[in-house]
């Protein structure tokens, strides 16, 4: 394995990008990602916060303390992982986190790995999805992604820019990927509108250092309140209102997540209005 350290975008030529490494290193070690070449992108991906733009290389620890950052995102960052991980992990990498689904992590030949069925649907799935789960019931673990969805963030890559919503896709028979990024496309910046009020509420199995069972972000803008959900679908999930929760398709072991989502939704809405 080789490690490249390009000093400009122009030098970038394939390879697997690595920044904080908190996500990629464990995936490499477990054989879930294979790479001949790692590209340390810390020199070429912007880091820092300025006037509604957040460099993709900014760490979660930097975001959680910066007063320019909307509350929902600060709270989402502060509730993620542990201080050590937040000091290393970047917001760009966080948006591209792989699921914690134990079947996927243990390399079961599941739908997400290209197989023909989702083992979690029939198996042990108490941490799994209640939306978008007919083919793959994995749950997306990113707290900040839910906050950024509610905030209506836009993603700027080295080739284009688009709403965060468009970064994600549900897996299909033809393509089991969960993002729309092209090979070696790099997230450089996030553009984050300033809401009138925002919050992020998270339910987990213990007080700290756990992925969300359910995370609900709400952000109020002049034209209304937007919501983003974590831990409820294979990708970060958006709903328009409480009624959308009625359209969920929980598995027998994930019904309780909906009850939590309803309570957190109500509380988040109250908090921002």
């Amino acid at each position: 394995m080789e490690l490249l350290r390009p000093s400009s975008l122009a030098e970038l030529d394939g390879g697997v990008p690595i920044a904080g490494g908190t996500e990629l290193v464990p995936l490499l070690r477990d054989g879930l990602v294979e790479a001949e070449t790692l590209v340390d992108v810390r020199e070429i991906v912007p880091r820092g916060i300025s006037e509604g733009r957040i460099g993709a290389g900014t760490t979660l620890a930097e975001l959680e303390v910066d007063p320019q950052v909307p509350h929902a995102l600060r709270e989402a960052c502060a509730s993620a992982a542990s201080p050590q991980l937040r000091s290393m992990g970047t917001i760009g990498g966080n948006l591209l986190q792989a699921t914690r689904c134990w079947y996927w992590r243990l390399k079961f030949p599941c739908y997400l790995h290209g197989g023909d069925r989702c083992h979690a649907r029939e198996g042990t799935h108490r941490e799994h999805a209640v939306f978008g789960n007919d083919r793959c019931a994995s749950a997306h673990p990113s707290d900040p992604a839910a906050a950024l969805l509610a905030l209506g963030a836009r993603v700027h890559t080295d080739r284009r820019d688009f709403p965060l919503d468009d970064l994600y896709r549900l897996p299909t028979d033809d393509d089991r990927g969960l993002t729309t990024l092209e090979p070696s496309e790099l997230i450089l910046e996030l553009e984050v509108p300033q809401p009138q009020a925002s919050t992020y509420l998270k339910a987990m199995d213990r007080r700290k250092w756990a992925f969300p069972l359910v995370g609900v972000a709400a952000a109020r803008f002049e034209d209304g309140v937007r919501f983003g959900l974590a831990g409820v679908a294979p990708v970060p999930w958006t709903i328009a209102d409480a009624e959308d929760l009625d359209s969920a398709t929980p598995l027998p072991g994930t019904k309780y997540k909906l009850e939590i989502a309803r309570a957190l939704f109500r509380r988040a809405l109250e908090a921002v209005t």
Binding site: R100, Y103, F108, H119, G123, T124, K208, F211, L213, Y256
Partner: protein, 751 residues
């Protein structure tokens, strides 16, 4: 003169008779309460060393030329190896040796659980060994696993005959009852997940095998290895100076040690065989899951008339049936008790002892059931327990050597009295409540155990015994006992332990037995040395021995004469004073047990199922307390580990294949410091006047026993919901709340 006597020895409720040799007369008992050193809070002798990372654990050991072993484990819960070819493994660069089922009987061709060892490789680095094993060619015939313990009982897949116990007539007891309560409780499989994974380093020097190992029982490891290898015990040296946690899972050498020993023999090099965190979660033992179908009958005044329990234990492919029915048999003075325990043989990894095995599980069921009885009779739960106090041990009709459970209840009163105030603090979705549960367990230890004490001319003492300190603060407690007996300040006493070649036999550190087994031996050795110092002083100063004593580093006479100890020992120059001591017998015909009660205050968010444990008061009766500071650490550790069992930890399986899904610490959720409540520790600290010269019992296990039931009972107090299954996840909490709501809807309106 040496006297040969027959005595009873108990470890975790297993009683065996054995011969011991007693040389000394029993020592005079120390007065109750804090003495000069014993009974005072003393910081850990090795605390700074551990905190600085200077203590050398087995995991830190690097020997010149050391190889690293990796183990090929079955990915299947039940399978047969049809073909196994390790030739590519052996040909991999860096690999020095491979072992398979034909070489060593720890490997199997018919694995019965995921993680069963099939083969191993030893290489220059762990990575080389592990990657080489990926090249092993294995053809599996995968078989359907049996995973459901109830199904195993139906099919008769059991480890032993069902264990039945009857006292009195349970049916008659239920007939006499004014209320009968029945409920099913479930507890999950949990893992020890010690900070230091199971491991050892084996090195042959000629015909002697040295085993550096993370262990709870140096001498047990020595015997088991000698027996397995067919060599004399003195040809096995076992070393464990520091240890990163065991909790019952490290009482034996383990397959990894036999693998390491064989590789070391074949290669002539030292070999480390260490489990990875994933292997630790797969195949290093666990607290097995239980299903408990319980029934209690009581009169209107709360007197229990009958208790009945069927206990199904998911032992695994191998292992032992822990004593889940124990609390039901022992905790209350109920005349009619009927229990049956089934040990299900299923395709899951073998269980191992885990901090009060069986009693943690059985106490959850029984103590929740008691609260359901209390609720039905509208009797205060604490009062109900008082009314059913067992004055003698009814299992074999013996008196207790000491029992201060009533005193524990008294001391619990002020904590219990907080419940009105706690409930009143309920606000919005957060409902608050208080619950309690009692604790019973063993913890008397027993012989044999030995210690030596060496006093040099500088007046410093070293306690020498080949025991282990498994992280509980044993070094410090032993130093305190020796310092007390020798009348020396604690900083002039050190403890040398951890090496079978450098000290006498010492007991296992399991079953809350280290202090009660080892403490009296250390005191006897120190007494022997103290006696010699006084004899020398009497001759030096022309006084009678009976007027001399040792206090605060001085030899003191009854007429106020006082000499520094060095004035006596200094005469010796290079000579030394050597004392030796042994653990005497346990009291004949008595039950030596520990008792306690815990009161938990909790808050439940009834909309999201979140549970916060806010305060736990722990009151335990373990006889004399040697080190109150160490004791409160033990209580805190037990409660925190118990809260993991209560709220968040669970080994999850794929129901189809039996694969372990929670192999890493992000999936297997232990409590973090943020989950720890305020913990108030109170120890009754009344010496057991029948047990040894110390009157001290063990405290390792008692604090983990009642916490789950105390929390579940507090949840009922706060919300009216019956949680009967561990862990109490949000899913379980919300289910129980919905059930309670349903029940309330169906119930007749309150008047």
């Amino acid at each position: 003169m040496a006297r040969l006597i027959r005595t009873e020895k108990e470890v975790e409720g297993n009683y065996t008779e054995q011969w011991i040799v007693v040389e000394e007369d029993p020592l005079e008992r120390w007065p109750a309460g804090a003495l000069e050193t014993v009974g005072k809070p003393v910081p850990r002798e090795d605390g700074a060393e551990r905190a600085r990372g200077q203590a050398t654990y087995t995991a830190d050991l690097q020997l010149p030329g050391m190889l690293h072993a990796a183990v090929l484990r079955s990915p299947h819960a039940r399978a047969r190896v049809k073909r196994l070819d390790l030739s590519k493994v052996a040909d991999t660069p860096g690999v020095r040796a491979v072992l398979g089922p034909d070489d060593l009987d720890v490997f199997t061709r018919e694995p019965g659980y995921p993680g069963a060892p099939v083969a191993a490789a030893a290489a220059d680095s762990y990575g080389q060994a592990a990657r080489a094993l990926d090249l092993a060619e294995v053809e599996w015939e995968v078989l359907d696993p049996l995973l459901d313990p109830d199904e195993a009982v139906r099919e008769g897949s059991l480890h032993d005959e069902p264990e039945r116990y009857e006292r009195g007539d349970a049916e008659a007891g239920f007939a006499e009852a004014d209320v009968v309560v029945e409920a099913e409780y479930r507890t999950q499989t949990v893992l020890h997940n010690s900070l230091e994974t199971h491991q050892s380093v084996c090195e042959w020097n000629g015909d002697t095998l040295t085993v550096y190992i993370s262990t709870q029982f140096i001498w047990g490891v020595r015997s088991e290895i000698a027996e397995k290898l067919g060599i004399p015990e003195d040809k096995v040296r076992v070393v464990c100076h520091y240890m990163g946690g065991g909790f019952g899972a490290k009482n034996h050498p383990g397959q990894y040690t036999f693998i390491g020993a064989e590789f070391a023999k074949r290669t002539g090099r030292p070999v480390r065989c260490a489990l990875t965190r994933r292997e630790e979660n797969l195949a290093s033992g666990n607290r097995h899951a239980t299903i408990q179908r319980l029934k209690a009958g009581a009169r209107a005044d709360g007197t229990l008339t009958a208790l009945q329990g069927e206990f199904v234990m998911a032992v695994g492919w191998e292992g032992f049936q822990s004593w889940t029915a124990g609390p039901m048999k022992m905790l209350y003075g109920c005349p009619n008790v009927s229990t049956v325990e089934y040990g299900a043989k299923i395709n899951t990894s073998p269980n191992a002892a885990f901090r009060a095995p069986g009693f943690v599980e059985g106490t959850f069921g029984l103590e929740c059931l008691l609260d359901e009885v209390a609720a039905k009779l509208e009797i205060d739960p604490l009062e109900l327990r008082r009314r059913n106090h067992a004055d003698v041990d009814l299992v074999d009709d013996r008196p207790f050597s000491s029992k201060n459970l009533i005193e524990c209840y008294e001391r619990a009163e002020p904590h219990w009295a907080r419940r009105q105030e706690v409930r009143a603090r309920s606000e919005g979705p957060w409902q608050r409540g208080v619950g309690m549960a009692s604790q019973i367990w063993f913890g008397g230890g027993g012989p044999p155990s030995y210690a030596w004490v060496r006093v040099g001319s500088d007046g410093r003492a070293t306690v020498i015994t080949a025991m282990q300190d498994i992280g509980t603060g044993t070094r410090t407690a032993m130093a305190q006992i020796a310092a007390q007996e020798l009348g020396l300040p604690i900083d002039r006493v050190q403890v040398a332990l951890g090496d079978s070649a450098r000290g006498p036999y010492a007991a296992i550190s399991a079953g809350s037995s280290t202090v009660p087994s080892m403490g009296p031996a250390v005191r006897a050795a120190a007494h022997d040395a103290a006696r010699q110092i006084i004899e020398i002083a009497a001759q030096r100063f022309h006084l009678e021995e009976r007027v001399l004593s040792l206090q605060d580093g001085k030899v003191v006479s009854a007429d106020d004469g006082s000499w520094e100890v060095e004035e006596v020992t200094g005469l010796l120059e290079d000579a030394q004073i050597l004392g030796k001591g042994a653990r005497g017998p346990n009291p004949t015909g008595m039950r030596v047990l520990t008792f306690g009660v815990q009161v938990a205050e909790i808050a439940v968010d009834v909309e999201t199922g979140e549970i916060r444990v806010e305060r736990v008061a722990a009151i335990h009766d373990v006889g004399r307390v040697i080190n109150p500071l160490g004791a409160s650490s033990q209580v805190e550790g037990g409660i925190i580990q118990g809260l993991g069992h209560t709220l968040s930890e669970e080994r999850l399986l794929d129901p189809e294949s039996g694969a372990v899904l929670t192999q890493t610490l992000d999936a297997y959720r232990m409590p973090t410091i943020a989950d720890v409540p305020e913990i108030v520790t109170e120890l009754v600290d009344i010496p057991d006047e029948h047990l040894t010269s110390l009157g001290a019992k063990g405290l390792g296990e008692p604090p983990i026993i009642p916490i789950a039931a105390a929390v579940a009972n507090a949840i009922r107090d706060a919300t009216g919901a019956d949680v009967r299954s561990l862990p109490i996840t949000r899913e379980e909490m919300l289910r129980a709340l919905a059930e309670a709501k349903e029940k309330a809807r169906g119930a007749p309106a309150a008047v």
